[in-house]
Symmetry: C2
Subunit: 358 residues, 2 copies
């Protein structure tokens, strides 16, 4: 455990993404870290968590917590990252941040290792950002297609899981499903709402825009940003442009929450500068180690969240040539929003940084 092996810190170790992060670290065949340090709010300090066979004690977030840390991964709300990632950087760590606080800053790279790993070295503030989970769920697939065919336009509709809103989102969906289960609901406006309120689940407490998620879909994800757009939809546009390096990429997104616990899905309509066929796209996807192609609809083979959740890859299927749009593919993509969509991508960036500190 000498200083040849770098020190990794995980800030937000006890949250929904932090928990998945520890699963990922525990599942790795080997890790490049000497010390792994778990950091959380003072409320969670003292908690014991086993990481790679060693029982670690969670320590409270403080400036000193970053002393000696080489890479600090942040899985915390925007405002916590905004305050603490610069403190970690000042103390000499590279902060890899999974919040929205720094993603669109010009001096912070926004990295998906399969797409733009070269950007990790351009980090004048000592901060690297991890994309939003919705964008990230389709980035490996779009990055691979872009390299081959030149992406020009993107129309996407999302089917986003409750865990995109963290543990409160998961808890809320499960409580709602229990409240509606066994009842003959869904034929009259407001009957789901009434059942939830009767079960002590007022919609004012919901993280889903004050709208039932059980037996429903909610066309409002993130916060309202004006001109009709919600934050998730603008993130899909702005982050896709930055990650892919296409500042004038045309993007329209509609982001919709669905009653799925974990795994985001997207219906993608993508137009390219060059001719594209299903066969050529299949070849591109097959050559990308982080993509699993599940695409034999005649045999009932296509990706769906319940069948792919918990895995690291992006699952792609339903690939077809748009009948009326030249150089355009329609396809369906599923990715675990807590893994590749959050913890895994953050950890892959951290792994890529490790050799710098060895």
């Amino acid at each position: 455990m000498g200083k040849q092996s770098p020190t990794l810190a995980l800030v937000g170790a006890t949250g929904a993404v932090g928990t998945v992060m520890i699963d990922i670290i525990n599942g790795r065949e080997s890790v490049p870290w000497g010390e792994i340090r778990l950091i959380a709010s003072p409320r969670s300090a003292g908690k014991k968590i086993t990481v790679r066979g060693e029982e670690l004690t969670v320590i409270a977030l403080s400036p000193e917590a970053f002393d000696g840390v080489d890479v600090a991964m942040f899985d915390v709300p925007d405002e916590v990252s905004a305050e603490w990632a610069p403190i970690a950087a000042e103390r000499g760590a590279v902060a890899v941040d999974n919040s929205g606080a720094f993603r669109m800053d010009d001096d912070v790279p926004l990295v998906v290792p399969e797409v733009n790993s070269d950007k990790v070295r351009e980090r004048p503030r000592g901060i690297i950002a991890n994309p939003n989970c919705t964008t990230l769920s389709m980035m490996a697939a779009l990055g691979a297609l872009h390299r081959e065919f030149g992406l020009t336009e993107l129309v996407v509709a999302s089917y986003q899981a409750a865990s995109g809103a963290g543990q409160p989102g998961i808890d809320r969906l499960q409580a709602e499903l229990a409240a509606v289960s066994g009842k003959d609901l869904g034929a009259k406006a407001g009957d789901v709402r009434a059942a939830l309120e009767a079960a002590g689940l007022p919609l004012s407490d919901s993280p889903f825009a004050g709208t039932p998620l059980a037996l429903n879909v909610v066309p409002a994800a993130g916060s309202y940003k004006g001109d009709g757009w919600f934050s998730e939809e603008l993130k899909v546009r702005n982050e896709s442009r930055k990650i892919l390096g296409i500042p004038d990429l045309k993007v329209s997104a509609t982001c919709v929450r669905v009653p799925v616990v974990t795994t985001h899905s997207l219906a993608v309509h993508a137009t390219f500068a060059r001719e594209v066929t299903v066969e050529a796209a299949h070849k591109v996807f097959a050559a990308q180690p982080s993509i699993v192609l599940v695409d034999d609809p005649e045999k009932g083979e296509f990706p769906s969240p319940a069948e792919v959740v918990g895995g690291d890859p992006t699952y792609v299927g339903r690939v077809r040539q748009a009948l009326d749009f030249p150089n355009t593919l329609d396809f369906f993509v599923c990715g675990d929003n807590l893994r590749k969509g959050a913890a895994l991508n953050t950890y892959e960036i951290a792994e890529q940084l490790a050799p710098e500190f060895s």
Copy 2:
């Protein structure tokens, strides 16, 4: 009850759509019909159903059942309509058919009263078709916009309810939700599938492409038609072109089943020949009696299935100008697939025919 008042028949009176049809007839302030005749399979014959205060006995489907009928509405599977609508027409009735059997026939009009009511008179075979519920859910909105701005391109992703697969679809979703409720599922691939199989709900029995619908979304609606496309997606394209009278309309659709009991939703990305603004679109929607505009996202006002189900109108919201596509709107539309999406539109066509027989 003289022959001045026409006779209406309802074929498939005991099915999911037939049941909603009777609700609609019972809810009308007045009806133009003298006799209303309920027809179903021999298995359901003899059943008593109260229609407008009168107890009617369901009679078995037979050629004679259509004697004296002026308008016969069919809410039955494709193969039953294919056989029996022509028999009803031969016996002198106008068949208004809600199946897919005749929709794309050149000599059968495909009618949405708000969009192309003039077509009801062009019925050389005595058959008028009612569109597929997915297409129909957005037709009032698109028809109104098309008249004003000239629709040229359409990219849609659907969020389709279980009842689009009829009563077996509703029963399946409710059984699945009961089987997963209260269990901590959704974090591992296949755990929903395993829970359903353990609960005696093998996926081979599901009407949803052999895939769980509880805690999931299923990107496969209808039957597989080759080249990557499912029937629902091709219906959206072909029926939209026919109803709107735009044979070269560019359309790409992705149809996805979601765990909602009733009400289809669509994320629509629509491009027009002429300039369009949110304000102008709002005006068009507000002027259409069958559309309810729910569009103040800052106040949490947008349509969602659980909040609009059971109503006749099409609900439209989240209207916004695409940021990067000229003359293009993105919006979200919800419509009760059993009402406007099926029974209501069929009944509106029948109502329009009634004066011919008075």
